[in-house]
Symmetry: C2
Subunit: 391 residues, 2 copies
DNA sequence: TTGTACGCGTTATCAC
DNA sequence: GTGATAACGCGTACAA
């Protein structure tokens, strides 16, 4: 029995539902034998203290003489609601310009349909293209994406993680800051079975799904290419030693040397903190020393591009005097002069893959097992290493 | 009177608070004359149906024999709580690893402390640097930033707007997609006094705070510089005609011509849709026609960079045969050959300003009036226009 | 200073 | 099918 007053006798107990009229619930008062529908527009029942009161399912329920629960179900096409009710409810909802309050939904369902993404920065193409990939896949699956960046600061990363986890997101897709060496902020949430996916800078200590680039293999290809161009004294500029990607990219470099029976020279292997001054510092050290060097392999593009400019400024000819190659294939590499040979790691694909692994984990639930995927890339050869062409 | 059982007589009415012991609330049973504190760790009262039950203020309250409200207040340093209670509550909160449920907070306070940012894309430095600026200012004020991008699609923009507004965010900072010509999705929220700040591509129809770059003035400076380099037949490649920024940047171009008594030639003014093919199409049309042109001014950098490459490929010498200049000063412009003269619009500053205007509006509340701010930039002269140097 | 009780908007779980 | 009503976790008048 609906809880609706008869406009004539003002009784509640005597009112029955009596079909639909133009998509609106119709009522019949047994006593007065009076048919009527409810008009919601004029009345304002409680002039709710809040001014900008968004219409809620309660408003809809009142307007239709239905129970909130029924409205809730009808809106979500719950199987045990009649088609007529659904249609009627949706119509009124539309008229009242109803929009579900996702906050309340999430509080009630304890589920946010949102993925939190934490990355070191978003100003480089490398990271923003990954983000685009994540977004693409996530939104197709009905997930929203929230982004934070740590500015390569461990403290910020931890703060972001907690902020996200405190009921903002269903899980995390993260690339650690270069400072990060402890992972308690990840482990504590992993214990609670919250989905976490790592990409690029992963954490070996924990059992999460991970997406990696062809760090080792890509570097191998770059180095092999340099060797094929006749380079024998190839300097490598790596990143911080504790970073897994750093290790892997140097590993590929070393493997290539080995394949061609070139003895790796420790004096040719440098570490930077991935900042420009630090990379250029390395270049200066190379130039000022009397160690012969015929190629520089930088493990990331932004560095290589500065290196190119720096070398040109000093009158060193590229690729004749020195080849330069790197890893990343940022768009800029195509336009500088000479254009930069670089390994294209397919970062967009990495984003897609990370999001997919995240969704897999959600779907598989309990019986989920962490996977590690490696995204294939390809070497892009350009002017900065093309010696043969010039012979 | 606290609602705590005496461990001896099991009565509730006889228990009194009796100071603090090692930061914990201490109790006294009048009847048994027994002093005790509560230990929360062993008991699990209700084994809440949820497994990963996050500790809530209710848990803390129970553990301490306090009321939820007291805990709530103590945690937020509400003036009418004693320092001792605050300390004790915070200590237990820490021990129980309590983290406030921001969902619940927001639902209850009807305030999210979050700014939604909608921009056309995030892969270009132009937009990502603006974002960084926003983030910087917002986070200092305790605001979170959520980002969505429309991929220059009006439909996506509208969807994003609604998603944000449905209780995700306190307000919006937005740059419209290039497709967007109707603004109902903005107006409907503006009516509800929800703070909205426009940047770059603003909407003239609505009364919001806006941040603009020196679109007209910057273009003026670029054009003036070209004229000073001896150019007289300067082609301008603009964007879609309906975009305000497009108009403004062309306006600056025209003003500069006027200042130097150069008759603007309509055949030298082109519109593109800001895509590369469209821009290069314009260049081809210029080259294939017999209209004399000695400079190209592109209203955005990404286009100019491609134009440079395109011209070089065709054997046209820059700046001797043709000067190229643009607006944006993307990092790439510094590294291409010849390096690109461009107006640096200070996008980071624009982000900061937008966020600040947003915060102003929140603070000023009722008596807020929309402001429009213009962020000053500066011309960066580089090789692509430096003719005099080569004489 | 602290406690009680209710609101915030939805969903879920019962009854009917 | 539909209707009450209790969560969900927190903030806050109002009362004590």
């Amino acid at each position: 029995m609906p809880r609706v007053k008869c406009p004539k006798c003002l009784k509640v107990e005597t009112v029955l539902r009596a079909g639909f009229l133009r998509g609106r619930q119709r009522f019949l008062c047994k006593e007065c034998a009076y048919h009527f529908t409810i008009h919601h527009d004029r009345e304002s029942d409680k002039p709710t203290r809040r001014k900008n009161h968004e219409t809620t399912i309660i408003d809809i329920a009142k307007a239709m003489g239905l129970a909130v629960s029924t409205v809730s179900r009808a809106l979500r096409d719950h199987p045990d609601t009649s088609m007529q009710t659904r249609r009627a409810v949706k119509k009124i909802a539309e008229e009242l310009n109803y929009r579900p309050n996702s906050l309340a939904q999430r509080l009630s369902k304890r589920e946010t349909q949102t993925i939190g993404v934490i990355m070191p920065d978003i100003e480089t193409y490398f990271y923003s293209s990954i983000l685009t990939g994540i977004q693409q896949v996530a939104s197709k699956a009905g997930y929203k994406v929230m982004v934070c960046w740590s500015n390569e600061s461990h403290t910020d990363e931890v703060a972001n993680t907690h902020a996200f986890m405190t009921n903002w997101v269903d899980g995390l897709i993260i690339c650690h800051s270069k400072e990060t060496k402890t992972f308690d902020h990840i482990k504590m949430y992993l214990k609670k079975d919250i989905p976490i996916v790592h990409f690029n800078r992963v954490c070996e200590e924990v059992d999460t799904s991970k997406v990696l680039l062809e760090d080792s293999n890509g570097s191998f290809q770059v180095t092999e290419h340099l060797i094929q161009q006749g380079c024998r004294r190839i300097a490598a500029i790596g990143g911080p030693e504790h970073l897994y990607v750093s290790k892997m990219r140097l590993d590929g470099y070393l493997r290539a040397l080995k394949k061609y029976n070139i003895e790796p020279d420790p004096k040719l292997i440098f570490h930077s903190d991935l900042t420009i001054p630090s990379v250029l510092g390395v270049v200066d050290r190379i130039l000022e020393s009397d160690i012969p060097v015929d190629a520089i392999f930088s493990i990331y593009d932004a560095g290589a591009i500065r290196v190119l400019a720096h070398l040109k400024q000093r009158g060193i000819k590229i690729p004749e005097d020195m080849c330069v190659a790197s890893f990343g294939n940022e768009p800029m590499g195509e336009f500088i002069e000479p254009s930069l040979t670089s390994f294209d790691p397919h970062t967009f694909k990495m984003g897609e893959t990370a999001a997919q692994l995240f969704l897999d984990q959600i779907i598989e639930g309990e019986n989920f097992v962490a996977k590690t995927k490696v995204v294939k890339g390809n070497l892009v050869v350009r002017q900065s290493t093309l010696r043969n062409q010039n012979l």
